[in-house]
Amino acid sequence: MTEIKHHLTDDLLMAYSAGALPEGFSLVVATHISLCDECRARMLAFDAVGGAVVDDLSPVALSEGSFAETLARIDAVGADAGAETAPEPTTARSGVFPTPLQAYVGGDLEAVRWRRVGGGVRQAVLRVDRSSRVRLLHIPAGTAVPDHGHRGTELTLVLQGAFRDEVDHFGTGDIEIATEELDHQPVADLGEDCICLAATDAPLRFHGLLPRIAQPFLGI
């Protein structure tokens, strides 16, 4: 794998650690961290901030019998053996998608249900709650994604191949954070099709008439 050049920002990592991100952004962040040890170390550091916050809180009185009730919960599950031991974190992975993304797709790359969106580009919208929108993009080598701007923030993570836009060149594992000010037109590198995971917290703003008309049907 190529070296990752474009990383997550502190505010995204801190918000992820604090549990304050929209679900779609959390998915992109968790997927990037799965590929990037630098950002994983930074995330763990922000988790440590959460630990310090808990340490410094003034204790609140527990209800009477709180400890006994907790022990009863432990014993109740113990009697019902096996029920809680099941979902251990998974580490083994084969394929293109890190495990957090596989959980949303229901499998790896071959499980994606693509829909054509014009110009050879295909997308698959992933189901998250209403606070954000997430889609996978498949951009054939050398092809451009429709020129667009953003009302909110758009996170784009490269999972395979690479693209270039007005800002820079983004390779596998890189993340682009596009704010309101940025209008860009990503173009996939020649040589390999590019697959990206993109999340927004507000609808995109397309400049061409056709994408604008199609937008409500595409769900982006």
Partner: protein
């Protein structure tokens, strides 16, 4: 290595005395954390009991190279808050195989525990305004855009320490 002994005793000997000590310190703080995050006293009580029961059951997953006990318990409480109070899913990064069974490096563990203590003192020294923003961020009161003003924390040394432990782990995996 604050509380690491207690977690080890729970993991290896189902030691209820060790759990009682851990409970006495953490349960009232977890409850406080949940109430600050907007839960009623009743809900916070219920969820903190659930969090502490999870601490008991998942003691084997605690890794002292990766987190202090306070940090680990914070992540459990935060995830429950998202689950139960926010009713949202939280995607988690792929786990690396650095469970205790992978023969943890004692020096790495000790260093990380010390860094966590130092971070706590460094945070106590922050300007009042920044500290307040950090607290509000971790209680879930700020959006990610508002959070940008709370960043700029002294995280350099703990991050380097974690990065080192990760590099060592990658090396072992080869």
């Amino acid at each position: 290595m604050a509380w690491v002994t207690e977690i080890t005793a729970i993991r290896e000997a189902q030691d209820r005395k060790a759990f009682a000590a851990l409970f006495a310190y953490f349960a009232p703080r977890v409850k406080s954390f949940l109430m600050k995050s907007g839960a009623s006293a009743d809900v916070a009580e219920d969820v903190s009991q659930d969090v502490m029961a999870t601490v008991w059951r998942k003691a084997h997953l605690f890794d002292p190279r990766k987190a202090s006990v306070s940090t680990w318990i914070f992540t459990i409480a935060r995830n429950r808050r998202i689950d139960i109070l926010r009713k949202q899913r939280r995607p988690e990064p792929e786990e690396l195989p650095w469970g205790p069974e992978a023969a943890p490096d004692q020096a790495d563990a000790l260093a990380l525990q010390q860094e966590s203590e130092q971070l706590r003192s460094a945070m106590a020294e922050l300007p009042e305004k920044q500290k307040d923003l950090v607290l509000r961020a971790y209680f879930g009161e700020l959006t990610h855009r508002e959070i940008s003003e709370a960043t700029g924390l002294p995280l350099g040394t703990i991050k380097s320490r974690l990065r080192l432990a990760l590099d060592r782990l990658r090396h072992q995996m080869k």
